[in-house]
C-alpha cells in the first residue's frame, strides 16, 4: 500500500522499520502527516523519511532545563508514532537531558561539555524552562552554575536553538507579575541569536517534532513568525479553527461550568476563553493523542492562552479575551448593506419612461389638434 501512496524511489526502509518498531506504512504516513502540517509536499515527506532513516544525519542535541516543571518533556514522552524515545534515538542524538539521562551527577555534566566541544556549531540546543536573571541568576543553578550562564555557554556554538515550552519561549508562569526571580525567555538572554520558540504549557509535542524533523531534513529552520514561532504551527488563532466557533458566531455561550450552555457544548468565550487571542494549532492537533476532541476546549474548559505571551498567566483566567480577528470579515453586513434595497431594472426604467413619454406625446398631438380646431374648424371625430 505504501508504495502506491509514496514514491519511495527504491529506498530501503527495513532498517528503520526495525529500529522504530513500526511498519513502513505507519512511518511514511507519519512523515507525510508532518510534512502536510508543515505545508510541504509528499516529496518533502520522502526527504524527511530518508533523513530519519539515515542515522548519519542525526544532529547531537543538548537539552537544558531551567525554571520548569518538566511538562514539555513529559508531553514529549507521551507522543506517539514514532514515540519520543524512538525519535530521540533515531532522529537526534540526545547527548544531555537531565531527566532522562542514564548517568548521574558530574559525569553527565562532563559528557555535555565533551559533546559541545566535539560538535561545535553542529548541535541543536533545546532549552526547557525559564531563565531567572534577578540577583545574578541564583534562583536556578545546576552543578553550581547559574542557568543563565549555562544557556549562554551552550548557545555559543549551537547550530540552532529551540526554546521548548512557554517558560523557555517567554518566561512562562514564573515570569508572571511580580516575577520574583526575574524569569526570562531564552531569546531574551540570547540577544542576536536565532531562537525558535515552541511555546505552550505544555507545548504540543508534534510542534517540536515537526520543527526538529524539518531541521534534520533540510538543515535549516522552518519559516517563523515575528515571535520566532514556526508559522505552520502558530499561524492561526485558536478561535479561527475552534470547533465551537459556530456557537460564537451564533451567539451561543456557556456562562458557568455545568450550566445548560456548557452541557450543550456552546462557546466558552464568556468563561474567559483566550482562543480569540492565542495563536496555536491545538484545535487541529488536540492533545494526548486520544482523538475525539481531547484538548482543553474539547473538555469544556476555556483556553487560557498558555502559549501566548502576555495572555497565559497574565490575564485573569475568567477575563474576556481581546478578539484579534473577526473572520470571516464579510460575514458582517457593512453599514450601508441593505438586504432588500432595490436598484432599477432596465424593464422598469423603460416602462416608466414610456409612460411619461406617452403623456408628453399625447399632449403634443392634442395641442396640435387643438390649435387647428381653435383655428375655426371642428374636430374631425365627433362621435368617437
Amino acid at each position: 500500500m505504501a508504495e502506491k501512496e509514496f514514491d519511495t524511489g527504491g529506498f530501503d526502509f527495513s532498517e528503520v522499520e526495525k529500529r522504530l518498531g513500526v511498519t513502513r506504512r505507519t512511518f511514511l504516513t507519519f512523515c507525510a502527516g508532518v510534512a502536510g502540517s508543515l505545508g510541504l509536499s509528499t516529496n518533502s515527506a520522502m526527504a524527511m523519511a530518508k533523513a530519519i532513516a539515515q542515522p548519519k544525519k542525526r544532529p547531537p542535541v543538548i537539552w537544558l532545563h531551567g525554571q520548569e516543571c518538566t511538562g514539555p518533556s513529559e508531553s514529549l514522552l507521551r507522543s506517539e508514532q514514532p514515540s519520543l524515545e524512538h525519535l530521540i534515538l533515531d532522529m537526534i542524538s540526545l547527548d544531555y537531558h537531565q531527566t532522562l539521562d542514564a548517568g548521574a551527577g558530574h559525569k553527565v555534566e562532563e559528557i555535555k561539555k565533551k559533546s559541545m566541544e566535539e560538535n561545535k556549531g553542529k548541535y541543536l540546543l533545546v532549552v526547557e524552562g525559564a531563565i531567572p536573571v534577578a540577583d545574578g541568576g541564583i534562583y536556578c543553578k545546576i552543578a553550581g552554575e547559574t542557568m543563565v550562564d549555562l544557556t549562554k555557554e551552550a548557545a555559543e556554538h549551537a547550530a540552532a536553538i529551540v526554546a521548548f515550552g512557554s517558560c523557555a519561549a517567554w518566561g512562562g508562569v514564573q515570569s508572571a507579575a511580580p516575577n520574583p526571580t526575574g524569569a526570562k525567555g531564552t531569546q531574551a538572554v540570547l540577544p542576536g541569536k536565532p531562537v525558535v520558540n515552541i511555546p505552550g504549557c505544555p507545548p504540543n509535542p508534534a510542534n517540536f517534532l515537526g520543527t526538529v524533523l524539518y531541521f534534520v531534513t533540510f538543515g535549516k529552520l522552518p519559516p517563523l513568525d515575528e515571535q520566532n514561532r514556526p508559522k505552520w504551527a502558530y499561524g492561526r488563532l485558536i478561535h479561527e479553527n475552534c470547533y465551537r466557533r459556530p456557537h460564537f458566531d451564533a451567539g451561543r455561550f456557556a456562562t458557568e461550568f455545568g450550566d445548560e450552555g456548557h452541557k450543550k457544548g456552546y462557546c466558552l468565550y464568556k468563561l474567559g476563553c483566550k482562543g480569540p487571542e492565542t495563536y496555536n494549532n491545538c484545535p487541529s492537533l488536540e492533545f494526548n493523542n486520544v482523538g475525539g476532541g481531547v484538548w482543553p476546549i474539547g473538555v469544556g474548559h476555556p483556553c487560557f492562552g498558555c502559549s501566548e505571551q502576555g495572555v497565559g498567566f497574565n490575564k485573569p483566567l475568567f477575563s474576556l479575551a481581546d478578539v484579534k480577528t473577526h473572520t470571516p470579515p464579510n460575514a458582517f453586513p457593512e453599514i450601508d448593506d441593505r438586504s432588500d434595497a432595490s436598484g432599477a431594472s432596465t424593464g422598469a426604467v423603460a416602462l416608466a419612461s414610456a409612460a411619461a413619454g406617452a403623456v408628453a406625446g399625447a399632449t403634443l398631438v392634442t395641442a396640435r389638434k387643438l390649435n387647428s380646431s381653435d383655428d375655426g374648424s371642428n374636430s374631425d371625430d365627433q362621435n368617437g
Binding site: 432588500d340 432599477a344 424593464g347 416608466a352 392634442t366 395641442a367 387643438l370 390649435n371 381653435d374 374636430s379
Partner: protein, 379 residues
C-alpha cells in the same frame, strides 16, 4: 332640464380595448400583491417604504384629481357661474381620481383587512398627519359622490331626490372646498415628520402644507384645462379655450406665488446655495422649477394664453411640475440613509398604469352613458 348630456357612442373602441389590456395586467398584479404580499410585486424596502403606489396613486393622483376642488373654489367661493359647464366633468375626474387613490391606499395598506381601525375614534392619534389625510380623503370621496350624484340621478330620473339634494348641496360643496384644502395641505405636512430624509431643497418644515395646497390648486386648474382640451378634441363641441385661458391665468398667479415662496423659504432657511451644488438634487430642483416657470411664461402672454395648444402644453407642464415636486420630495431625492435605493419594479409600475387605465376607461364610460359633459350649443 339638465344642461348636461351624455355623448353616447360605442364604448368598446380600440383605445378602450388597449387600455383594458393595461388594466387587466395591473389587476393581475394587484391580485398577486394580495396573495403573496407586497414584496412580491413592489420594490419598496426598509428605507423606501413608500413607493409609487403611495406617491403616485395617492399623493400625486389626488392632486391630479383636484380639478373638482379648484373649480368648486372658482365657481362657488368666487361665484364664477360661467365656469359651471366645466364643473361636472371635473367632478367626475376628481371622483375617479380620489376613488382610485383610495383604492390605491387600500392595496398599498400593509394590513388592509384592518383598515376600519382608522374609522374607530378610540384609535385616533390626533398628532398624526396621516390620520387627518386618511379621514379627510375618505370623507371627501363621499362628498364627491354626493356632488356628482345629480348626474346619475338625472340619468335615472329621480327628481324627488334631486330636489332634496339641491337643498343641502351647498353644505357638501362647502365641504368639498374645505376637505381638499385640509388634506392636500396635510399631504405636504407628511414630509415634516420625515425630517432629514427629505432633501433640504424640499424640506421646508412648517411651510410644507402651504406649498402642498398651492401646488395642488395649480394642478387642479391644470387638469381642468387638460381634460377639457382632451374632451374637446375627443368629443368635439365648442372650443372652451377662452374659459380655460382664464383658469390658466389663475394658475399662473398661483405659480408665481409658489415659485416665489420656494425661493424666499430657501433663502430664509439659508439653503439657497444648494441649488448650485450641481448634484442630483439641484438638477431635479432646477428641472422642477423650469417646469413651473415655463408655463408661467407661456401664460403671461395673453396671445399664447388664448392658443389652445399652448395652453394645453402649459397645463401639462404644470402637471409635470406638480407631480415632480411631489416625486422629488417623496422619492427622487428622498434619502433615508446610506445604502438605500428604490426604483419601482415592472409589476409595480404596471399596477399604477392599470389604475390610470381604469380611471380613463371609467371616465369614458361615464361620459358616454351619463349627462356629464356640457350640452354643446351646436348639439
Amino acid at each position: 332640464m339638465s344642461t348636461h348630456q351624455q355623448t353616447g357612442g360605442r364604448i368598446f373602441t380600440l383605445p378602450f380595448m388597449l387600455l383594458g389590456i393595461v388594466a387587466v395586467i395591473g389587476l393581475y398584479y394587484i391580485v398577486e400583491r394580495f396573495v403573496l404580499g407586497m414584496g412580491a410585486v413592489a420594490n419598496i424596502n426598509g428605507g423606501f417604504p413608500w413607493g409609487i403606489w403611495v406617491v403616485y396613486d395617492v399623493v400625486i393622483g389626488t392632486a391630479l384629481a383636484c380639478g373638482g376642488y379648484a373649480l368648486a373654489f372658482t365657481v362657488y367661493v368666487f361665484n364664477k357661474g360661467k365656469y359651471h359647464p366645466l364643473v361636472r366633468p371635473a367632478l367626475l375626474a376628481s371622483l375617479l381620481g380620489y376613488a382610485l387613490g383610495g383604492f390605491g391606499a387600500i392595496f398599498d395598506m400593509g394590513r388592509w383587512w384592518q383598515f376600519y381601525n382608522i374609522l374607530i375614534p378610540g384609535n385616533w392619534n390626533f398628532n398624526s398627519v396621516m390620520l387627518e389625510v386618511g379621514l379627510c380623503v375618505a370623507l371627501y370621496i363621499i362628498v364627491l359622490i354626493i356632488e356628482f350624484s345629480p348626474a346619475f340621478l338625472e340619468k335615472i330620473g329621480a327628481k324627488g331626490l334631486l330636489k332634496v339634494l339641491d337643498k343641502v348641496l351647498f353644505f357638501f360643496i362647502a365641504l368639498g372646498v374645505l376637505l381638499p384644502t385640509m388634506h392636500q395641505s396635510s399631504l405636504g405636512s407628511l414630509l415634516i415628520a420625515m425630517g432629514y430624509k427629505v432633501d433640504p431643497l424640499w424640506q421646508t418644515m412648517q411651510f410644507q402644507p402651504l406649498l402642498a395646497v398651492v401646488s395642488a390648486l395649480i394642478m387642479g386648474y391644470s387638469i381642468v384645462i387638460f381634460e377639457a382640451s382632451l374632451s374637446n378634441v375627443r368629443f368635439g363641441g365648442k372650443s372652451e379655450t377662452p374659459l380655460l385661458s382664464v383658469l390658466g391665468k389663475v394658475a399662473m398667479g398661483l405659480m408665481i406665488v409658489f415659485v416665489a415662496a420656494r425661493i424666499i423659504i430657501l433663502v430664509s432657511q439659508g439653503k439657497i446655495g444648494l441649488i448650485f451644488a450641481g448634484d442630483f438634487s439641484s438638477i431635479m430642483f432646477v428641472l422642477e422649477m423650469a417646469l413651473f416657470i415655463l408655463p408661467a411664461l407661456i401664460l403671461m402672454s395673453p396671445t399664447s394664453r388664448q392658443n389652445g395648444g399652448l395652453l394645453l402644453i402649459a397645463a401639462v407642464s404644470m402637471l409635470f411640475a406638480g407631480a415632480l415636486y411631489r416625486f422629488n420630495a417623496f422619492l427622487f431625492t428622498f434619502d433615508p440613509g446610506p445604502g438605500y435605493a428604490y426604483f419601482p419594479s415592472v409589476s409595480e409600475i404596471m399596477v399604477t398604469l392599470g389604475i390610470i387605465a381604469i380611471e380613463i376607461m371609467a371616465y369614458l364610460v361615464v361620459v358616454k352613458t351619463m349627462p356629464v359633459l356640457h350640452r354643446s350649443e351646436q348639439a
